[in-house]
């Protein structure tokens, strides 16, 4: 078996069992749907049919039916790139090593490089897309609601340069935290006798200790996506996790993780420790004021899973400046930083200021004369 063959075998293209057109996972119905003949299949049904189809293909031994994908010889600066041909339109699709699944940017035909996501890179589980591209566009357009300071035409659909459904690799950390938190606590009581007011401050050393477990704190494992953006689209509903299967990737991009190890755990650990401190502090209810002085909290990683989480990445270009938005592909939570319309912002501030001054003046004048 030569190398080109190996890759071509690993490339997976889902075919419609009815009409053999290429078939994609449809997020809105949660099934694979053929855009040509309208047939719908679950993953199990598709698997069953594709086994039969593979047998048929072998029997027919028609190599032209297979995707012809060649890995170009790494040369000079292109050493990190993989190129392969789209079997439908013949275009060459170029992806970098991090891109594990992609579709033809020209005709939209799907082709998946199995090698990137199999073996040690195979995720444990996946949340399939539940929101489709149209709802991402809708979400972008509806950003204008309740945001008076954004430029008027920012939310125009024409400003969307690219929308990609991407499975982002996430590390899910289970962290067990144990230890004590030591706080300075004050109980302050006030009373008065005659004209004299008294304030009594009782000072305590407050200790709260114990254990608690966090399950699946997500840390994005792709360096190409901003960690803060990935933080902001949380939370995902983990009850929708399914065992990983390549078939879900069809029609979407997928990233292979390129960040791993201490740095990622560090992020999850910080969050677990912060929340544990807050929990311990909240447990000391009888104090008027309290402040953490030190703690002996020890976070331990009890489990780590590699999961693919669905994200719609929306690239927007407005007045020649790029903006990135992201939508949680499961819940539809849409986030991103919208530019401020400077004129509107100043105008708004002035109007609010004037209104407050007028209302304040009326209140002041009326209350004086009552």
């Amino acid at each position: 078996m030569n190398e080109a063959n190996t890759i071509s075998e690993q490339a997976l293209e889902n075919k419609c069992p009815s009409c053999t057109a290429s078939i994609k996972f449809n997020p809105t119905i949660g099934k694979f749907k053929c855009e040509y003949c309208g047939s719908e299949f679950t993953l199990e049904e598709l698997k069953k049919y594709s086994n039969n189809a593979a047998t048929d293909a072998n029997n027919a031994s028609n190599p032209q039916q297979q995707a012809t994908i060649e890995q170009s010889i790494p040369a000079d600066n292109y050493s990190n790139y993989i190129s392969y041909k789209c079997e439908s339109c013949g275009a060459e699709i170029v992806t970098d090593e991090q891109t594990a699944a992609t579709f033809c940017v020209y005709c939209g035909n799907t082709a998946i490089l199995k090698s990137k996501l199999s073996g040690q890179f195979t995720p444990n589980k996946i949340i399939p897309f539940a929101k489709d591209k149209a709802s991402a566009v809708e979400a972008f357009k509806s950003l204008k609601k309740g945001r008076p300071l954004m430029p008027k035409d920012f939310c125009n659909e024409q400003n969307i340069e690219k929308i990609r459904g991407v499975y982002i690799p996430f590390w899910l950390y289970d962290i067990f935290v144990s230890g004590d938190v030591e706080m300075h606590g004050e109980i302050i009581t006030h009373w008065s006798r005659g004209d004299t007011r008294y304030t009594k401050t009782d000072i305590y050393k407050v200790i709260r200790g114990g254990t608690m477990a966090y399950k699946g704190i997500p840390v994005d494992g792709s360096s190409r996506f901003d960690n803060n953006i990935m933080n902001s689209i949380e939370p995902f509903d983990y009850s929708a996790f399914l065992p990983y299967n390549h078939a879900y990737l069809s029609g979407f991009l997928a990233e292979k993780y390129d960040e791993e190890g201490d740095a990622n755990f560090e992020e999850a650990k910080k969050r677990a420790l912060n929340s544990t401190r807050n929990f311990m502090q909240a447990d000391a209810t009888m104090y008027t004021a309290k402040a953490i002085e030190k703690d002996t909290l020890l976070p331990q990683q009890t489990n780590r899973e590699y999961a693919m989480l669905p994200v719609w990445m929306v690239n927007v270009k407005y007045k020649n400046k790029p903006y990135i938005f992201a939508m949680n592909g499961q819940t539809g939570k849409f986030i991103g930083n919208i530019p401020l319309d400077v004129t509107k912002t100043i105008l708004f501030a002035i109007i609010i200021f004037i209104i407050v001054v007028i209302v304040g003046s009326i209140i002041s004048y009326v209350s004086f004369h009552l």
Binding site: G146, R147, L149, M150, D180, G185, S192, D195, T196, R197, Y198, T199, K200, T201, D202, I203, Y204, K205, V206, I207, R208, G209, G210, T211, M212, A213, Y214, K215, I217, N228, N231, S232, E234, A268, K270, R271, A272, N274, S275, N278, F279, D283, A284, M286, I335, G336, N337, I338, P339, T345, I352, F353, V356, V357, G360, S361, S364, Y365, F368, H369
Partner: protein, 310 residues
């Protein structure tokens, strides 16, 4: 005949020598014979205050000094009258000195009497607010008393501290019975305070002559508050455009069933108590009760200095 002339002259001289203290007995009128019982001011005579009206002497308001107790000589009267006329000329506020002698049980009786006297005679009629000051001296032997009462604009010129200074300043003279010196320095005190300008220029008078705090636009408070409120609202609006935030918490991922708080210690270290006294707003003045603003039986307002005994 010559002898008779001599005796008459001697008697006349004797009379002059005996009577100077009683030289100027105030002229009073029977209020029943006067229109509206002699009240020319805007105050209404009602069943409630009629007794007060009838009780006050109706006098000629041009006399200014009403010595019913007979403590001033003619010369003293004339000199004081001149000083008062100069004061009125300068300040356009009336000035009245009332001296009586009657027993009383409460200081308030003196005040009622003196204020009625001012309200139901034509004092201060030459200006809009019946402005003027009355110094009342009760020479009642077993408990002599004096106090000053301000009406109209005089309330703004002679505030509590100025009244305290004035009343304390004339105490020695009045106590010793040196009335001319006492009244004369009283007029000087008022004249000097008038020159020093209005003490309560942040107040104004209402239609009944009560002092009201003038409305002052709280510029700093309103603009400061407007600035803060605008900043908060703009902060909220701007934050709506900034949706990308780093996550610092993990409470969504906490397995509630796994939480075990096994160590709860609350160790008492120390305690301390602080106290402070809230001062009451009325400050006592020397030699008498605190001055105050009150309502006369006429319905008009006035301030008084907190009377002095002695």
């Amino acid at each position: 005949m010559k002898r008779i002339k001599k005796i008459v002259l001697l008697l006349f001289t004797l009379l002059l020598w005996i009577t100077p203290a009683f030289a100027k007995v105030p002229v009073t009128y029977d209020r029943n014979t006067l229109e509206n019982y002699g009240v020319k001011k805007k105050w209404k005579v009602t069943s409630e205050n009629q007794a007060n009206v009838m009780r006050s002497h109706a006098v000629d308001s041009e006399e200014k000094i009403y010595d019913f107790a007979g403590v001033l000589t003619d010369d003293e009267y004339n000199s004081l009258k001149k000083q008062i006329e100069e004061f009125i000329q300068k300040t356009n506020m009336d000035l009245v000195i009332l001296i009586e002698s009657f027993p009383y049980y409460q200081d308030r009786e003196n005040e009622d009497y003196a204020v009625d006297f001012y309200d139901y005679n034509d004092f201060g009629m030459f200006n809009d607010n019946y402005s003027g000051t009355l110094l009342f001296r009760n020479t009642y032997e077993s408990n002599p008393y004096y106090d000053m009462y301000n009406f109209g604009v005089a309330q703004q010129y002679f505030d509590q501290s100025r009244m305290d200074i004035t009343l304390d300043g004339i105490y020695d003279n009045l106590h010793a019975g040196n009335y001319y010196e006492g009244f004369s320095s009283f007029i000087k005190y008022l004249s000097n305070f008038y020159d020093a300008g209005m003490a309560l220029d942040d107040y104004e008078l209402d239609e009944n002559g009560f002092l009201q705090k003038k409305y002052e636009y709280p510029f700093i408070v309103i603009f400061g508050a407007a600035f803060v409120i605008t900043a908060i609202i703009m902060g909220i609006l701007i934050s709506k455009n900034k949706m990308v935030r780093k996550a610092t918490q993990a409470e969504n991922y906490l397995d509630q069933s796994s939480v075990q708080i096994t160590n709860r210690q609350d160790i008492f270290l120390t305690t301390h108590t602080t106290s402070y006294t809230v001062s009451s707003s009325s400050g006592g003045s020397s030699g008498g009760g605190g001055g105050h603003s009150s309502r006369g039986s006429s319905g008009g307002g006035h301030t008084s200095g907190g009377g002095r005994h002695g």
